[in-house]
């Protein structure tokens, strides 16, 4: 158990595989930087692997003051036990007050194992993190705690979780909910090489085979997204979504209902159990706007909703509300955009 200490650093577990730093820890860096600044403490990243010095340097560019680098031949591939042991040892040695992990498959596998060993609190799948004060029912006030904010009950409520009597405060954070910071290549920081004590016994699994499947679409990077829902009606009619996306240089996306109906591959799903996106423009075509869908797209800068039901919840978060039949509206949008580009070509010629 680690005692409450106010000088402890803010840490991000910098998940990397084969020398490739995952997106989620990078996304975490900008918010973690803000948390550390609010608390007046250092921001550190912990990197585990073998030959990960390049990644350590990168993390400084993304905002870390310090990087704890734990390198060992047995850390070359992620395994729960070996990684949990090394992270636990680092936490024990340096006593950070906050430790954040990406809620990736590995992060959600690792963090609870560490939390159990450290007998520390852990909140899963946060969508927001803040610093704030908490008053207990006995009237005690705990200052400057990590507010761990997450949807619960299938997205129907938002809970703010804290822990004040046992350190560190730990959370996993959903992929894509925080914006990627721009790297500052001039930033300076300290890389601290840590001694690693692990043996073959800490690797109880044998990894026989691994297949990484690249996603068919990179929704997180898309500036514009055209998403279709069950209202589109059929896989054939989903062509409308693809065509509109094409005209705009946008990525095609979908609701879970559309995916379940076989209109499009699940890689395109936006929402609580799909990808979280924050594009400049999100066009929702035949989407009702269920809370689980909104969880993945309400951070979009501008939202256009096309729906023939005036009561559809999507209209409550839309900036442009088009009440009408998508089979009429979408072709009109495609036509307008095509005419515009023809005009531009002519003007250039």
């Amino acid at each position: 158990m680690i005692d409450v200490n106010r000088q402890g650093e803010v840490w991000v577990f910098a998940e990397q595989h084969n020398g490739h730093l995952e997106d989620t820890p990078i996304e975490l860096m900008s918010r973690a930087r803000r948390l550390a600044d609010t608390l007046g403490v250092k921001l550190a990243a912990a990197v585990l692997g073998n030959g990960a010095r390049d990644i350590a340097a990168k993390l400084i560019h993304y905002g870390a003051d310090k990087v704890y680098l734990a390198e060992h031949p047995l850390l070359v591939a992620y395994q729960t036990n070996s990684y949990a042991k090394v992270i636990f040892d680092l936490i024990h040695k340096h006593k950070p007050q906050i430790v954040l992990y990406g809620a990736t498959a590995a992060g959600r596998d690792l963090a609870p194992r560490v939390a159990s060993a450290a007998k520390a609190g852990l909140t899963a799948d946060c969508t927001d993190l803040q610093i704030g004060d908490h008053k207990t029912t006995d009237g005690d006030t705990h200052k400057n705690l990590l507010f761990q904010i997450r949807p619960a009950f299938g997205g129907n409520i938002i809970a703010t979780i804290i822990n004040y009597d046992r350190w560190p405060q730990m959370a996993t954070v959903r992929e894509g909910v925080m914006p990627m910071p721009e790297p500052d290549v001039g930033r300076k920081g300290e890389i601290i090489q840590e001694k690693v004590q692990i043996s073959q016994q800490d690797l109880p699994l044998e990894i026989l085979e691994e297949h990484k499947r690249p996603k068919k679409v990179n929704l997180k990077a898309a500036r514009i997204i055209v998403a279709g829902g069950a209202g589109v009606g059929s896989k054939d009619n989903f062509k409308l979504v693809w065509d509109l996306a094409n005209c705009l240089g946008a990525a095609p996306a979908a609701t879970r209902a559309a995916v379940d109906l076989g209109f499009i591959d699940s890689d395109h799903q936006v929402g609580q159990t799909g990808t979280t996106v924050r594009p400049s423009l999100y066009i929702a075509v035949g989407i009702s706007g269920a809370i689980q869908h909104q969880a993945g797209m309400s951070g979009s800068q501008k939202i256009i909703a096309i729906n023939n039901d005036p009561g559809a919840p999507i209209f409550q978060i839309a900036h442009y509300k088009i009440l009408g039949d998508l089979n009429v509206v979408v072709p009109k949008m495609i036509k307008t955009l095509r005419e515009k580009s023809i005009k531009e070509e002519k003007a250039e010629a």
Binding site: N81, T104, R113, S116, T160, S298, Q316, I322
Partner: protein, 303 residues
């Protein structure tokens, strides 16, 4: 060779069917308005255990930590083919977070002779996926999370395919091991008619007592106890008494249970309010759409 499996299951409110009435005005959840169901992925965990039993033999024990009402999912497990069911219930379990829950479950599991512990990937009320890995740590066994397929089981080693987000991994481990099972792993079988006949009257001691209390509203506490004891021993003779354990029985240290044992606390709960920003209504005709697109171009939102 045979393998003994322990399956951890949970009764959860059906969050898919949340309606207006299911939320209180202060934004908290009105649990009583929600139907209670067998957590979906725990059914996949049970199904995987049943497949192991079908192929290799061995015993399946299901455990749930919960309120007396959770007797329903224990019976359901017996209907589907579990050999033994245990209700772990105690007022001192209340307000346990995932850490305290995993500690309490570890005390119960340690009382059982097991080769494989199976959990659902996550429960739909919390969606944390934390209890499985925390329990594995407390038991000191390796974990294989997000299992999609059991590839091989022989000679006390297990090979499984697990989901790693963008892809999959095939891993091998020595037993004992803890698995968390995803919905993709299998299609849970339905209750077998024969087993339903056999176990439909299976009860936990607390269910027996509650029923007797209801039927003998006037009776003294001591008489109710006696009646209940008698009924329980009758059920036991027929193999229909579902085991009921409390924290004392499993030897749990109360420092690590319930509110005391839970580092995480709730600071605030808010119901989701849909942010109504500035909305513009666009007419679904050529003019409306063309104006909107030009506005978006001017605002540099579309190129």
């Amino acid at each position: 060779m045979a393998y003994n499996c322990v399956v951890l299951i949970k009764q959860v409110p059906d969050t898919k069917r949340i309606t207006g009435k299911a939320m209180n005005d202060d934004g908290t959840v009105n649990r009583s308005a929600l139907p209670a169901i067998f957590n979906p992925e725990d059914l996949n965990a049970l199904e995987l255990a049943l497949q192991i039993k079908d192929k290799f033999g061995g015993k399946i024990t299901v455990i749930t930590m919960g309120l007396p009402a959770a007797g329903a999912i224990l019976r359901d497990s017996l209907f589907r083919g579990a050999d033994e069911a245990i209700l772990l219930t105690d007022a001192k379990c209340a307000a346990s977070d995932t850490l305290a829950t995993s500690y309490i479950l570890s005390c119960a599991v340690k009382k059982i002779d097991y080769d494989i512990v199976l959990c659902g990937r996550q429960a739909i009320d919390g969606d944390t996926a934390q209890v499985g890995p925390q329990l594995a740590e407390k038991l000191g066994v390796p974990q294989i999370t997000y299992v999609e397929e059991l590839i091989e089981l022989n000679d006390k080693t297990i090979t499984a395919r697990r989901n790693i987000g963008a892809g999959w991994q095939q891993v091998k481990a020595k037993l004992p091991v803890l698995l968390t099972v995803t919905a993709d792993a299998n299609e849970p079988r339905v209750a077998a008619a024969k087993k339903m006949m056999k176990y439909k009257n299976a009860r936990t001691p607390i269910e027996v007592e509650q029923k007797i209390k209801l039927e003998n509203a006037e009776a003294a506490e001591a008489d109710i106890k006696k009646l209940a004891e008698h009924k329980c021993s009758e059920l036991e003779k027929k193999g229909l008494l579902i085991k009921q354990w409390n924290l004392d029985f499993v030897g749990a240290d109360l420092t690590w249970c319930g509110r005391n044992g839970s580092p995480t606390k709730v600071h605030r709960i808010q119901s989701v309010v849909l942010a109504s920003k500035e909305t513009k209504s666009i007419e679904p005709n050529d003019r409306g759409i063309s104006d909107m697109i030009h506005e978006l171009i001017e605002d540099k939102i579309i190129a």
